[in-house]
Symmetry: C2
Subunit: 251 residues, 2 copies
Amino acid sequence: MPRFKLTLEYHGGPFSGWQRQADAPSVQGALEEALARIAPEAGPVTGAGRTDAGVHALGQVAHVDVARAWDPFRLAAALNHHLKRWPIAVTSAQEAETDFHARFDAVERLYRYRIRDRRAPLTVEKGLAWRHHGPLDEAAMAEGAAHLVGHHDFTTFRAAQCQALSPVKTLDAVTVERSGDEIAVTARARSFLHNQVRSIVGTLAQVGAGRWPPARVGEALAACDRAACGPVAPPQGLYLVAVRYPERADG
Amino acid sequence: MPRFKLTLEYHGGPFSGWQRQADAPSVQGALEEALARIAPEAGPVTGAGRTDAGVHALGQVAHVDVARAWDPFRLAAALNHHLKRWPIAVTSAQEAETDFHARFDAVERLYRYRIRDRRAPLTVEKGLAWRHHGPLDEAAMAEGAAHLVGHHDFTTFRAAQCQALSPVKTLDAVTVERSGDEIAVTARARSFLHNQVRSIVGTLAQVGAGRWPPARVGEALAACDRAACGPVAPPQGLYLVAVRYPERADG
C-alpha cells in the first residue's frame, strides 16, 4: 500500500489532544474519520508528536497507508473537504517511502510558545496565546533558559504521566524573543518529554515575573524533581511548528 | 464631566459592526452597556472609525464622558471586567481634553488587510484573514495599488450606502507585503470612505490573481463608477490598526 506523508495544521481548542480517544474528539480521530470516507481501507494515522488537549500545530507531520495510488494533491483536497467541520487542514501531502515513519524518523521537533504580557484580556488572539497579567523580563527569561540547553535529565520538566523510557534528552536550543507585548519561547530538540515545553515556559515565566532568579532554573533542573518545576503554562500558547526528517540518500 | 480617550481591541466576528443597533450586538452597544454598569451617567461612546460587521480592531479609539474623575487605569480594568462576555478589550484609557473628539480630531487612520493565499482552509487563523484559494502575485498588486495613492475621487471604491459628503479623499499610502503565504495590504489616510479598503483589496486581488493587468486599477479609479470596482474583499481580513491624533500644543 502506498504511504503518504501529511503535513497538518490545527487549532487545538476543540480537541482532547492528538491521540484518538473513545469518548472525546481528537485530531487523530477526526483525520481517521475523514480518511474512512475516501479510503475505507486506509491504515491508522501516525503523528510525529502527540500534542496535548488545546495545543495547536502549524506543521504536525503524520503518515498513513492508503490502498490505492492517490494523486497527493487530490488526497489533500479530499481530506480537507471531509475535515470541514473541524479546524484541521492538510497543508501538504506527498507520497513517502513505504518505511517512512512520522514519529520514529523525525530528527528534530520545533515548538513555539506565545505569551502576551499585558493587562487587557485577549480578543483577536483569544485561545492563541497565554495572556500573562504582569510584565515579564525577557532577558532574565533567556538567561534562565540557557541553563536548560544541552544533554540533561529533565525529570523536573516532565509530566507525571510521561511514558518516555528515559527522562534524559538533548535540548538543542531555547530562545526567548520579544516583539511588542508578545514573548515567543522557541524550543528545538530531537524529541521532547510529555509537558516538557509547557513546564519550561511556566518556569521561565516565574523568572520573567521576578519571582525566581535565573540561576534557580539550573537548580531546578539539577534537582531532578518534579516538585522543583514552576507551574505548567496553559496549552493555548503552544504550537508544534515543524518536524524535520533526514534527507533520504535515495530520495 | 471628565472626558476619557479609550484605545480598544476587538474581534469583529460576533458584531454587526461598531455602530449601536436596536436588535443586533455592536461594539459601541457592548461598551455602553459595560459603562452603564460602572458609570450610569456616562455619555455615549464615540469611535474614530465605524468598522463594519466582522471587521477587527487592534487600535480603535473612542471618547466618552463620565461623571466622576476615574483613575484611568481603574476605568480600563472595570470596563474589561464588565466586557468579559465579549471579545472587546480596553487596552488603554487616559483622561483627555474636554473637547477631544475621537472621530473629528483624528489626523490619520491605519488599516491592514490580511490575505493568506493557499489551498488549505484556515484553522488557527480562521476568521482572522481572507483565505484566497489561488496564488497571488504581490508585485503586481503593489503596482496596481500605486495608481490609488494621492488625492482622488474614490467613487469606484465606495459602498452605495456610504454617507460621506464627498467621494474625494487623499490616500497617503498603500503597501503590499508578503511573508510566507500571507499578504498584508496596509492603507493609510486621514479618513476613508465606507468599504474603501475592502473594495481596494478586492480589486487588487483581481490583479494578483492575474485576471486584471495592474493598469486597470488606474482605469477603474478614473471611471468614478462603482461598477468598475472588483468584488469587495470579505470583512474578516480587515483590521483597524491605529488612529493618530495631533500632538496638543498645551498637552
